[in-house]
C-alpha cells in the first residue's frame, strides 16, 4: 500500500482486498501515524480497492471515532462503483466524507 505524508495529513492508497487480515494491518498503520506523528487528517484513496467487508468498514469507522476527539477527520475518495452498495448498507456515507477526484489524464 502506497502512502504519502503531507504536514498533518496521511494519504493512503488502499488497494486489493480489505478483509479481517488486511484491515487490521491498515488499522495499525494509521494508528501509529496518529499516535507517533500527530497525523490529524487521513485520506483513503480507494481507486484500486476491489473488495471490502465489515472488518474493513469497521476499521474505517474506528479511525473516524479515534480522530474525532482529536479534532481530526478521515475522508474516502474514489470509491469504485461496485462498492457503492456495501458502503450504503453500512451507513458510512452518512458519517464520513466521500469524494470523487478527477483522475489526471
Amino acid at each position: 500500500m502506497k502512502k504519502r505524508l503531507e504536514r498533518q495529513t496521511l494519504h493512503l492508497y488502499v488497494d486489493g482486498e480489505l478483509d479481517m487480515k488486511t484491515a487490521s494491518q491498515l488499522k495499525n498503520m494509521i494508528d501509529i501515524d496518529i499516535d507517533k506523528k500527530g497525523i490529524r487528517t487521513v485520506v483513503l484513496h480507494m481507486d484500486d480497492l476491489h473488495f471490502i467487508d465489515s472488518s474493513g468498514l469497521g476499521v474505517i469507522l474506528g479511525r473516524y471515532k479515534k480522530l474525532l476527539p482529536l479534532g481530526g477527520q478521515i475522508k474516502l475518495t474514489n470509491v469504485p462503483p461496485n462498492l457503492y452498495r456495501i458502503m450504503e448498507l453500512s451507513g458510512l456515507p452518512k458519517i464520513i466524507e466521500f469524494s470523487q477526484e478527477e483522475t489526471a489524464l
Partner: protein, 145 residues
Amino acid sequence: MKANRISLTFSSLPQNVTVARMLASTIGAQLDLPINELEEIKVAVSEAVSNSIIHGYDNSPDNSVSLELEVSEDNLTIKVIDTGCGIKDIKQAMQASFSTDPERMGLGFIFMQSFMDDLQVESSLGSGTKVTMVKRINRQHPSSH
C-alpha cells in the same frame, strides 16, 4: 446441470478467509452468475468465515472452519461451520448494529442477509455455529446437457 458438492476444512487463520471466498466465487462463476452476484457471495462468505474465526474461536489459530458448497438445479448452497463458542441469542446477534465487540459495527449478518437469498443460523453455546446461505440460480437458457 449436474449436482456438485465441494467441502473444504481449513485452519482458523485470517489468510484462509481469502481462500474461502475465492473458492465460493469460482463455483459461482462456473454457474454463470453475474459479476455483482459473485461479489455478493464473496462478501457473505467472508462475513461468515470471519465470524467463525473472530467470535467462534476468539482469533485462536488452532481450530478448524469448514466450508461446504452444494450446487443443485436452482441453488448454490453455502455452509460455514465452526465448533467454537456458539451464539447465546441468535435473534439478537442477527440484528443490525449488534456486536459483542465494541470495535465492530455488527454488519456481518446484515450483509449475509442482504446479499444472499436465504440465511439460516444454527448455534449452540459451547458446541459451535453453522451458517447456511442460499443463492438462487436464475438460468436464462435451459441447459441442454
